[in-house]
Symmetry: C2
Subunit: 138 residues, 2 copies
Amino acid sequence: MTSKLPITDSRFERWQTETALASACPVRDVLDHVASKWTTLILICLAARPQRFAAIGRALPDISKRMLTQSLRQLQRDGLIARQVFPTKPPSVEYRLTPLGQSMLAPLGALIDWAENNHAEIRRSRSQYDAFESGSIG
Amino acid sequence: MTSKLPITDSRFERWQTETALASACPVRDVLDHVASKWTTLILICLAARPQRFAAIGRALPDISKRMLTQSLRQLQRDGLIARQVFPTKPPSVEYRLTPLGQSMLAPLGALIDWAENNHAEIRRSRSQYDAFESGSIG
DNA sequence: GAGGGAAGGTCTATATTAGAGACCGATTTC
DNA sequence: GAAATCGGTCTCTAATATAGACCTTCCCTC
């Protein structure tokens, strides 16, 4: 709120400085894990309700079991989701958001809303780019 | 259906439905591009001020030229950044956020703030996970 | 009691993608 | 005229993702 440009305040300058430090930087450290296709999608899945392995897989039809397992482990390791095994006959495993995972839904939701609101414009931009830059002129 | 959990409103159920449609889904379509390490970091870079190719490269020391070029092209194609060539003697190229790119800073900033605020807890969770799940007990 | 299906995975083999770094053309500098 | 800068491209290799076969335990059918 200290600038005249829309969002561009000093935070971004600081983040920029921090990115130089690579692994020491929270932004990179968290974003590298969190801002990835499947983990984000899994979080969205579990936002509605806790779900079991196969249910998440069904919700994300083009994820492989391997990636699903791997992504779930990572989210669990980062403390965003919890894994709970029920001793049913074919043992069932339920994944649910932790409070930390829940707390991420707000910023993530904002990003998703942005995505929905601007999807049309992005697609417009893409077709224009494709027509010009790679098509007839290139 | 509707639940009593904190953030969990019907948006997430809708998004979950949409993810099944894969490429037709704005969430996936945008997130696949946007929620990736380098593009996010480049956006942050350009948030502070327009910058030239080499400057962005310097700000992100461990990005390769190839990835930088590729990520810039993608952001340009999506209409988030604009590329402007100046006919200086060694021609210089400046990248700047478009209004669309600017508009993404708000949700992106929220996510980054979350990352900073929760980095400590995430790291705590990770070391705990590493100690238990893969270490002495496994 | 052999076979099959469901749950929750693992493992392997292959395709895709990222990263390192050589190279390029233009221009300026020494 | 050799070296360096800028903004890339190109190739080769390393890492990562995907598809899909397979595993184990239990219940059910035949």
